[in-house]
Symmetry: C2
Subunit: 335 residues, 2 copies
């Protein structure tokens, strides 16, 4: 039984091995599409670092989207998303499905991130070729761009994963990104959340396809389920599921997997209209997220070069903030 | 004693009154800079709606930045940020300081947001001209752009507020924005937060100038303070304060205000080098946030027009996601 930390370490170590590094783009793409886990690790590292080879690799893989079912897992911090993802993985593996897990971490780019060290969890498939786990850093606590989620989804899809779970930390921009690119969104809640969560329930009800009340043995779980069901009824045209589970006690997992599998079967089997629409929505999300990322990286570079001077002009009263922003955008557009 | 809900209602109602609407830009700017609360309400509504008058108004106010001390208040949901802000406001008012409060809400743009209804709180200065409270909607649960925070800060600054507190809900993009534009960042925590919070402590330690452990009567408060102090020591070149308070019991508020006031006095009094640097950093943040917002609004409009077709091409295998994103960015840039 290897911890998730150990698992991720192994994946990253594999990506660094010289024999991995010697692969050219074509070879890497070929091995990736055969589902070779080491090739997947190396490819993700390539894409994360935005190395020169990344664009070529994604091109070599080609447009091969649409087999993997992408589940976004979001919800406030502390609700037990990670344990739940582990339980779901166990269940999927019993069915023989290949599972990719991407954990978006709020790991600090400055401090180097002691993130995974703090959550050593049961992942008993370290040597299982059917599971791939990778953590990706978002930019610090306050969110900002996560890594190239859309790119990594394409890689895992190409590597023949049946299910890809993208697990956010419930804070920051990564949530938005995940909601946009996932085929289904699972919102993990727990009884006894603070007022802020209560207050944001309306917004919450718009994004989820499945609502999970985890830690169901805590007081208030049933009330929360009733509450969520009432709110779900108010959303015409959508009928999200609401389920009660306990990841720690391994209770309620199979009914949850059954719900997710029903959604996946509609998605993959017949290429139904509903499935196509979900697929297209996700592709739209990937395109716009990638476009956003490029624009913002571009803006950041230009800001690095010229925002100091603009800010000094604003401080001296020579320029309004709006004019300074216009100049920055203008520069960004000319680029 | 009026609830915050009532207070916000009054502000918005004032902004809608015909006599307010008849003001032209110059008049509005003049009344705003005299600190007239009704003018502030109207100006913020104008800026939020991005009405034609907004740019003109901000120009009429001119570059008048740098008097108000902007405190960003962030931290996970449920830690009691709002109650703490209310307590701080009471204390500031006793000192005769004018206080502006901007609460970034995760109110849903679709459902219309039952947010404030859920947190009816003590705000006993509804008729106090020295306090201005406004809530601004962020885009739904998963974050996204909040409203024009940078613009609103300028308006409140021009309206002669001494302290502006920007209160986030602890989820989503609004946190990033606030951290960038604030002169000081107060991170509100509480004992007993889940693993995710523990895990993101490293990222957390980078953004705060003051760490507040609220609900200090809960078990684990002292351990958390010790923990935070230990982590704070590891950050060379920075020395964030760590304080224990209970907003509910009104305990520990004055020491916290004293810390904030020390920071404010360095900021406003002597126009010291340190103060100037803080001021410039905030202006840089405002410029880049405004530029981001413009780029992303622009991208969104263009995506609305063309992303469907691009997504269909990707689904048919005629285009990679990366190429589609390039086209979207390209279109965006030509605009």
């Amino acid at each position: 039984m290897l911890s998730r930390e150990g698992q991720v370490y192994l994946e990253k170590a594999a990506a660094r091995r010289p024999e991995g590094l010697r692969l050219d783009t074509k070879e890497l793409a070929a091995r990736l599409t055969k589902g070779d886990r080491r090739a997947v690790a190396k490819a993700i590292t390539l894409v994360e670092n935005d190395g020169k080879g990344a664009a070529a690799l994604l091109r070599a893989i080609g447009p091969r989207l649409g087999n993997a079912f992408v589940v976004g897992v979001t919800g406030p911090p502390g609700t037990g998303k990670s344990s739940l993802v582990d339980r779901l993985t166990q269940s999927y593996r019993k069915k023989g499905l290949r599972v990719g897990i991407v954990a978006i971490d709020p790991t600090s780019p400055i401090t180097g991130g002691a993130f995974l060290g703090d959550r050593i969890r049961m992942v008993d498939h370290a040597m299982d070729q059917g599971v791939f786990i990778r953590s990706m850093a978002s930019r610090g606590w306050a969110g900002g761009l996560s890594g190239a989620v859309a790119d990594v989804i394409q890689l895992l899809d190409a590597a023949r994963m049946d299910v890809i779970m993208i697990e956010t930390v419930g804070i920051g921009q990564s949530d938005t990104e995940v909601v946009r690119v996932a085929h289904a969104v699972m919102v993990v809640l727990m009884p006894g959340l603070g007022d802020d969560i209560q207050a944001s329930k309306a917004g919450l009800m718009e994004i989820g396809d499945v609502y999970v009340v985890n830690k169901a043995d805590l007081p208030g779980a049933d009330e929360m389920v009733v509450d969520l069901l009432a709110m779900a009824r108010d959303f015409k045209g959508r009928s999200p599921s609401v389920l009660k589970v306990s990841a720690a006690k391994n209770e309620g997992i199979e009914p949850l997997v059954a719900v997710l599998e029903r959604m996946r079967s509609r998605f993959v089997s017949s290429r139904s209209d509903a499935g196509d629409e979900v697929r297209l929505r996700s592709i739209r999300g990937m395109i716009t997220e990638l476009a956003r990322r490029r624009l913002l990286v571009d803006l950041e570079e230009r800001a690095d070069a010229s925002v100091d001077e603009l800010a000094r002009d604003v401080a001296r009263g020579r320029l309004t903030v709006a004019d300074a922003a216009d100049r920055l955008v203008g520069k960004s557009r000319r680029g």
